[in-house]
């Protein structure tokens, strides 16, 4: 039925057309490294180990939240929202790829973005715990996204002047993306918070879920403090007021009276220091399963 000369099989046509060009087979899976072609020289005065850890922190925030968001694929309340959450996840994955690649270069022992994403266990992840909290209902996912995107936007706006040109460029690119994410999440927060009694109740529950993890966003790790002194990082404690002020009008419009707890009575695990909730291990088990089952697979 299929002679060698037929090209009506899409895969045959694809391989023939693109033979000799490994970048092209299976569109969308161009596994060239994220910083391909970018000048990745590290400025002499920057502490490489600290820079590597810092990029891991910001990269893991994006990677883990991206994975949480794609859990909505095939499960979102409307097709448009599914597309939106997948797009946001894709933006975050792009940020994660660049940051993990930067981390690997700074570390200097040959770990690339894939090694860092797929072959680290939970205790080696440095993301804030708010990023790993299960998505829960749509309301919790939206409120968490609002908080993380607004916080990340404030952070990236400072980092555009970071004394690492690659980090500064990643932040400059990310500012536009995070603005868009925060606006999307803000619109839904208002729609649900200021919606029916029932949706309002659900948003109050979301506030209660997010609140214990809010303070951690502004707790500086020693690595962040050291790098902030060198002008490479931003001390997250300096973002607290700005983020609170940015969230206030959204929460007001959503009729959500939320005064974040400054110091939770039982502090949750400190993600920046490698402590996590069991949810992260479960998330990683799924995310890493294919790469770990086929560690030498080539695409």
């Amino acid at each position: 039925m299929h002679g060698s000369e037929t090209t009506d099989n899409a895969y045959v046509a694809l391989t023939e057309e693109h033979s000799g060009s490994e970048d092209r087979w299976a569109f969308g899976t161009g596994f060239s490294e994220a910083l391909a072609g970018v000048d990745t020289t590290i400025p002499g005065h920057v502490n490489r180990a600290d820079l590597s850890t810092y990029c891991l922190m910001l990269g893991d925030d994006a990677l883990v939240l991206s994975q949480r968001l794609i859990e909505w694929c095939t499960d979102a309340p409307e097709l448009e929202e599914e597309v939106a959450l997948a797009n946001i996840a894709l933006d975050l994955l792009g940020q994660a790829r660049l940051l993990l690649a930067r981390s690997g270069v700074a570390e200097g022992i040959g770990r690339d973005e894939d090694t860092l994403a797929y072959f680290r266990d939970a205790e080696e992840f440095r993301n804030v715990v708010l990023a790993e909290v299960p998505g829960g209902d749509f309301g919790r996912s939206v409120l968490r996204l609002l908080v993380v995107a607004t916080w990340r936007l404030a952070l990236f706006r400072r980092l555009v002047d970071a004394h690492d040109p690659v980090l500064a460029a990643i932040a400059a690119r990310g500012v536009n993306e995070c603005t868009y994410h925060a606006e999307y999440a803000a619109a839904w927060t208002v729609r649900l918070g200021d919606g029916t009694d029932y949706s309002h109740e659900r948003m109050l529950a979301a506030v209660a879920d997010v609140d214990p993890h809010y303070a951690q966003l502004f707790r500086a790790h020693p690595v962040e403090k050291r790098l902030a002194e060198q002008g490479v990082a931003t001390d997250p404690a300096t973002l607290r007021e700005e983020v609170g002020t940015a969230l206030e009008p959204v929460l007001d419009a959503a009729r959500l009276d939320w005064q974040p707890t400054a110091a939770p009575g039982t502090p949750p695990p400190w993600g920046r220091d490698g402590q996590h909730t069991p949810g992260l291990s479960e998330l990683l088990t799924e995310m890493q399963s294919v790469a770990r089952a086929h560690p030498n697979a080539r695409w």
């Binding site: 060009s21 970048d23 092209r24 569109f27 969308g28 161009g30 596994f31 060239s32 910083l35 391909a36 072609g37 970018v38 448009e80 597309v83 939106a84 997948a86 797009n87 946001i88 894709l90 933006d91 994955l93 792009g94 940020q95 790829r97 660049l98 609002l146 607004t150 936007l153 404030a154 706006r157 040109p165 690659v166 500064a168 460029a169 990643i170 400059a172 690119r173 990310g174 500012v175 536009n176 993306e177 603005t179 868009y180 925060a182 606006e183 999307y184 803000a186 619109a187 208002v190 700005e242 983020v243 002020t245 940015a246 969230l247 009008p249 959204v250 419009a253």
Partner: protein, 171 residues
């Protein structure tokens, strides 16, 4: 000095189309930033591109297409460099690019918001859309979804002819 280069490499690179918006070229979109030749090596060319979105899945494809097109034009050694800074802006889409997008039913981006300064704010402006319908020209349009089928587009609808259309986001 005597080797004849067949075609201006910028012209060759500028013909490469975007894999997701094939009505426009990488030059139309402003992704193609620079094409440099080496006076000592006429078969060498260095191309500089800036991705639209960090995770744009088309980027690897674009790199390969640029290499392929320049190879075929006689440049054996092609380096494709990615520059992240300054970040790509929809303002970089050329007038020709905008015309082609509209002609193919994709609404070109409006004015990108100026770079914000001062403390962060989160806009609650609901469904503002700076676009005319690419089919009937009607200016009465609404945003259906901030996110469309590709990272750089949103979904909109014309209130005049009721047709939905893709709109390139302002960033």
């Amino acid at each position: 000095m005597t080797t004849q280069i067949p075609t201006d490499p910028w012209q060759v690179a500028a013909q490469v189309v975007d894999p997701e918006l094939p009505m426009v070229t990488v030059a139309d979109l402003g992704i193609l930033r620079e094409v440099r030749t080496d006076p000592r090596d006429p078969a060498m060319v260095e191309v500089t591109i800036t991705p639209t979105y960090a995770a744009c899945p088309a980027l690897a494809e674009i790199r390969a297409d640029l290499r392929g097109a320049l190879n075929r034009a006689g440049y054996c050694r092609v380096a494709v460099r990615t520059v992240l800074s300054p970040p790509w802006s929809s303002a970089w889409i050329t007038a020709e690019g905008r015309r082609k997008l509209a002609a193919h039913g994709v609404s070109p981006p409006g004015q990108a918001a100026p770079a914000a300064s001062g403390p962060v704010t989160v806009s609650l402006a609901a469904t503002r859309l700076d676009a005319s319908c690419p089919r009937c020209g009607c200016a009465d349009t609404e945003l259906l979804s901030r996110f469309g089928p590709t990272p750089c587009t949103a979904l909109a609808r014309c209130r005049g002819c009721r047709e939905p259309f893709e709109h390139v986001k302002e960033i």
